[in-house]
Structures are given as structure tokens and as C-alpha cells.
């Protein structure tokens, strides 16, 4: 029981600090069940490469308003996601394991402004957001391993400085 209470607290801590990209499931599965996320990741990686979303050139085009491609990709992805989430909420469809789908609000913090701008700076320099960093390494641009390591370092420094930063 002690253990359970502690875990619940930890989860609350993660949520209060950081509201996105969390495991909402309360079910416990054997480790090999994770293979479904490997397959989902492979699909996402293929799409990122084929859409050229991982290309530094395409990102520069986007930030110079020289092409519609990236805006079309992101815009139609959002519209598709919105429709899908709306349908999931309306129909109350369950996960493949019969769980209710949990969607939590993201509270506002000033970090979305300061951090958002800092990420934007990095996005224009590397030409990659976190997904493309992994995809670029897989695509053969091994030097991007250095950028990924640097991004991990950036995340770590944020964790270190977090109590002193405005939120």
C-alpha cells in the first residue's frame, strides 16, 4: 500500500510539472507489449522522412514563408487530430485494452512563452524539433547524435535551474 501511495504521488508530481506526453494508462502490461509503440514509432519515422519534415532546408523555407509545404503538413495534421479527438470524446470509444481514453487539460505557464521562444531559436538553427532529431540519426546523419546529446543536456540543465526560472 505504501508503495502504491508513493507512486501515485510521483505521478501527480510529473503531471503538475509537465502536462504533456504522459502515460495515462493505469494498466500494467508485460514489457513486450511496448512493441506496438515501436511499430507506431516506425510509421511516424517513415512519414517524417517522406514528408521531408526532417529537412533543414524545409524548415528554413517555412521560416522565410517561401513554401506552403510545412504549413500544409502541420495544419492538416492538427485538423486531423482535432477531428479524431472530437470523435473519441463524443463516442467514448475505449482503448484496445478496454480502458477509457483520458485527456487532461494543459495549464498555462509562462514557460510556454519563454521556453517556446528558446525552442524556436533552436528549431531554426538545427532545423529539427525533437522527433526529427531521432529521425535524422536514423536517416544516416550520425553527427546529429551530438545535437541529440546536447538536447538531453539542455533538458537536464532546465531540470537543474527549474526552481529559479519564472513559470
Amino acid at each position: 500500500m505504501q508503495q502504491t501511495a508513493q507512486e501515485t504521488n510521483t505521478d501527480f508530481e510529473v503531471r503538475s510539472l509537465d502536462t504533456v506526453c504522459l502515460n495515462e494508462s493505469q494498466l500494467v502490461h508485460p514489457a513486450w507489449y511496448n512493441i506496438k509503440y515501436l511499430i507506431a514509432g516506425v510509421l511516424f519515422g517513415i512519414i517524417l522522412v517522406k514528408a521531408q519534415v526532417i529537412s533543414w532546408f524545409r524548415i528554413q523555407e517555412m521560416f522565410r514563408l517561401q513554401s506552403f509545404h510545412m504549413y500544409g503538413v502541420i495544419g492538416s495534421a492538427v485538423v486531423t487530430g482535432m477531428i479524431a479527438v472530437y470523435i473519441i470524446k463524443k463516442t467514448g470509444v475505449k482503448t484496445i485494452h478496454g480502458e477509457k481514453v483520458d485527456l487532461h487539460p494543459k495549464p498555462f505557464s509562462k514557460g510556454q512563452i519563454y521556453g517556446g521562444l528558446i525552442f524556436g531559436f533552436g528549431w531554426a538553427l538545427t532545423g529539427a524539433c525533437p522527433g526529427p532529431l531521432f529521425a535524422l540519426i536514423g536517416s544516416g546523419a550520425t553527427v546529429i547524435l551530438v545535437s541529440l546529446f546536447s538536447a538531453v543536456a539542455g533538458t537536464w540543465v532546465y531540470g537543474l535551474l527549474r526552481p529559479k526560472l519564472p513559470h
Binding site: Y37, G45, Q60, F119
Partner: protein, 182 residues
């Protein structure tokens, strides 16, 4: 066809949202994987990294899949045709000696030799650091905020997305020209 047109690739990316929700109640996002790596490898008593990262291992498996998928796409699904970009960009970049469009990252800028130059250091190391620091400070990246957050109609994600774009516009147009001249 290179690249897949936006009206094919965009909706496919959007479908990652319901796919992950229905596979096991997972919210789509990538940048958290960087945090889980910190929590797993060097938490050193920082409270931000003191959580049960093993519960989030699916996210690390997912990003490993992204790298594997990119490898498959390049090895088996690519024609090897150069990246086709706007002639205006081609003209601008040729002024900085960037003419190689054979891969999606400009080989003239991103390689192990340029890494040791100031230009390469700023682009790869400083840029990477900003990506890691900024996404965590913002609580998400293009996937977590711009796609997942906006799909769920979260206005803070819209604020974050606008700031991502604003930061990118500033650096790409006002700062990058100086860096490329280095």
C-alpha cells in the same frame, strides 16, 4: 513521389494522435523522451528527474522506432532525388556556399568536420541545447503542443506554438545570416 504531398503526410501525422490514445492511452509527444533519458541516466537528486521513468518507457521505445523508421524510409523508400526547395532559398544559400541538396540535412553544414568550427558548433550544439531546454521549459514540442495539444483544443498549446514560430522566424531571418557567414 518525393516528398509526399502535405495533404497526405499531414493527415498521417495527425492520425498518430488517435493511434497512441487507442493503443494504450498514450498522449502523443516526443520531447518527454529527453526528460526520461535524464531521469534514467543522470537524475543526481534533481527533483524534476525523480519519478518513475520506467512507467514511461513506451516513449523511449517510440522514439527508437522513429529512428528505425527513418532508416527504413531512406534505405528502401527513397529515390535519392535531391530535396526540391524554393528557388529563392537556393539562391540565398548558394551565397553561403551551401549547394548540396542530396540529403535532407545540408552536408555542407552538418558534418563531423564542421562540428569543430564555430558555425557548426552554434548550429548543432547550441541549437540542440536550445531545443532540449526550450521544449522542456515550454512543457512540450511540436508534437506534444502543436499537434497533440491543439488537437485537444488547449489554448496554452496555441500560445506555445505561436512562440515556437516567433522564435524560429527571429533566428532564421535575423540571426542565421550572421552565423552562416562565420
Amino acid at each position: 513521389m518525393e516528398p509526399w504531398p502535405w495533404y497526405v503526410s499531414g493527415p498521417l501525422i495527425g492520425l498518430m494522435v488517435p493511434l497512441l490514445l487507442l493503443l494504450g492511452n498514450k498522449t502523443f509527444g516526443i520531447s518527454s523522451s529527453l526528460r526520461h533519458i535524464c531521469a534514467a541516466c543522470f537524475p543526481v537528486g534533481i527533483s524534476f528527474f525523480n519519478y518513475n521513468w520506467r512507467k514511461e518507457i513506451w516513449n523511449l521505445v517510440f522514439v527508437a522506432g522513429v529512428a528505425a523508421g527513418a532508416w527504413i524510409a531512406v534505405q528502401f523508400l527513397s529515390s535519392g532525388a535531391p530535396v526540391q526547395v524554393s528557388p529563392k532559398l537556393v539562391q540565398e544559400l548558394s551565397g553561403y556556399g551551401i549547394n548540396d541538396y542530396s540529403s535532407q540535412t545540408p552536408k555542407d553544414l552538418f558534418n563531423w568536420t564542421t562540428l569543430l568550427s564555430l558555425k557548426g558548433f552554434v548550429l548543432m550544439v547550441v541549437g540542440g541545447f536550445c531545443v532540449g531546454f526550450g521544449t522542456r521549459y515550454a512543457g512540450g514540442c511540436t508534437s506534444g503542443h502543436s499537434i497533440m495539444g491543439l488537437s485537444n483544443l488547449q489554448w496554452p498549446s496555441l500560445v506555445a506554438t505561436i512562440c515556437f514560430m516567433a522564435g524560429g522566424f527571429i533566428v532564421a531571418n535575423l540571426v542565421l545570416p550572421f552565423i552562416l557567414k562565420l
